[in-house]
């Protein structure tokens, strides 16, 4: 039985792990990988204390820091959590033990949990998207832009991620169609400036993507003009989907309260969820600012709150702690 089970390996989980380790709590960190979502970023310029760091180096630093506490923190990686639930609850005190099940077939039991599994890319959910995943449909412009050298491509999404994908594609793609759902772009004005009058870029507003077309590889995308209802097809060899993210909260949906977006509701003062003993931090939560530093800070809160909870729990039911 662990004191704390931490799920995730991004900034939230890593920060939580460092803090529980310093409290000498017996901990297991279960994660698919270290580093989190910005791992694919070439250049992170706002990780405090580093003017510039690649996602790759940040990932390594987080992992090293967590692993330096190997006396109290076990790391299970790569391991994918399928579900978490409470077991053995005391009706009077609401104190429960928790169980975590993984795809690898392992079961972990703990007195408290920190859910920090972050978020993943949102999919369009249109025909052709899955069939052509990797065959022209791409979710990582920093990684895959060069593969589309000389091609015409579409980027779906008028927010920051979409705009940045367009910028990533500048040196390579012959022509870039940016499909925005609204009648204006939403990303940073500076990036908007960069792309708006760029000769390689054509921005299509009010465009709702309907289908990704292709044969062996992507050869087009069909969209509907939501103003006129007209459907159009553009011929492209690639489609970059950049429409935001979804929280990885499915594992805990029967245990803690989620909001309409599937984000775990937390009391942001204490990183506590609707279930006593279960804490959450980072992009998996309903915290409005999804950033590395914020996730790390929230992870620290979750760790300190878990520590406080465990101390209280030990006082309430000393026998159970033996």
């Amino acid at each position: 039985m662990y004191d704390v089970i931490i799920i995730g390996g991004g900034p939230a989980a890593s920060a939580a792990a460092v803090y529980v380790a310093r409290k000498k709590l017996k901990t297991v960190v279960i994660t698919e990988s270290f580093g989190g979502q910005s791992q694919v970023s070439d250049d992170i310029q706002n990780w405090i204390g580093e003017k510039s760091i690649s996602g790759f180096d940040l990932a390594k630093k987080l992992e090293e820091h967590v692993r330096s506490f190997s006396d109290v923190v076990e790391v299970k990686m790569p391991e994918r959590v399928l579900g978490v639930r409470s077991i053995k609850c005391n009706e009077a005190t609401h104190v429960c033990d928790f169980e975590v099940k993984t795809e690898e077939g392992n079961i972990y039991e703990g007195k408290s949990m920190i859910l920090a599994a972050g978020a993943r890319r949102r999919k369009l959910g249109v025909p052709g998207e899955d069939a052509f995943n990797g065959k022209g449909v791409a979710y990582c412009s920093t990684c895959d832009a060069p593969v589309f050298a000389g091609k015409e491509v579409a980027v779906v999404g008028g927010g920051n991620a979409g705009l940045e994908a367009v910028v990533d594609l500048f040196p390579y793609a012959k022509k870039i169609y940016l499909l925005a759902r609204g009648d204006a772009l939403k990303g940073d004005p500076i990036t908007q400036e960069k792309i708006k009058n760029h000769p390689q870029v054509e921005i299509i507003y009010n465009a709702e993507t309907q289908e990704i077309l292709g044969d062996k590889f992507v050869n087009g995308v069909r969209y509907k003009d939501v103003k006129t209802g007209e459907e159009k097809i553009i011929a492209v060899g690639g489609v970059f989907v950049e429409i935001g993210s979804v929280p990885n909260s499915e594992m805990a949906k029967d245990l803690v309260e989620l909001d309409n977006y599937g984000q775990i509701k937390i009391d942001s003062k204490h990183a506590s969820t609707s279930h006593p003993g279960v804490f959450a931090a980072g992009d998996i939560t309903d915290d409005p600012y999804k950033q590395n530093n914020i996730s790390a800070g929230d992870g620290v809160k979750a760790a300190l709150a878990a520590y406080g909870y465990l101390q209280k729990r030990a006082k309430q039911s000393p026998a159970a702690e033996k």
Partner: protein, 76 residues
């Protein structure tokens, strides 16, 4: 020799290269951002457009699939 098809900005490509280096296994890197014929070769071999692609004696691995890499390279 194993071939790794990469782009300079791809983190999983770096991880794949590090994995080879860590285990002292030689590889040839093909930067598809610079070399269009390498890109086409990669697309043809893997039937897809994502990096990295790793070719170990004709066995094609798409992405940094560590368990599969370890298996094909005989690393325990």
């Amino acid at each position: 020799m194993a071939k790794i098809y990469t782009t300079p900005s791809c983190v999983y490509c770096k991880m794949a290269k590090e994995f080879f280096a860590k285990h002292g296994i030689a590889y040839e890197e093909k930067n598809v951002a610079q070399d269009v014929s390498a890109r086409d070769e990669m697309v043809q071999k893997s039937g897809q457009l994502g990096v990295p692609v790793i070719d170990i004696d004709g066995q094609i691995i798409i992405g940094f699939d560590q368990p599969r890499l370890a298996e094909l390279l005989g690393i325990k």
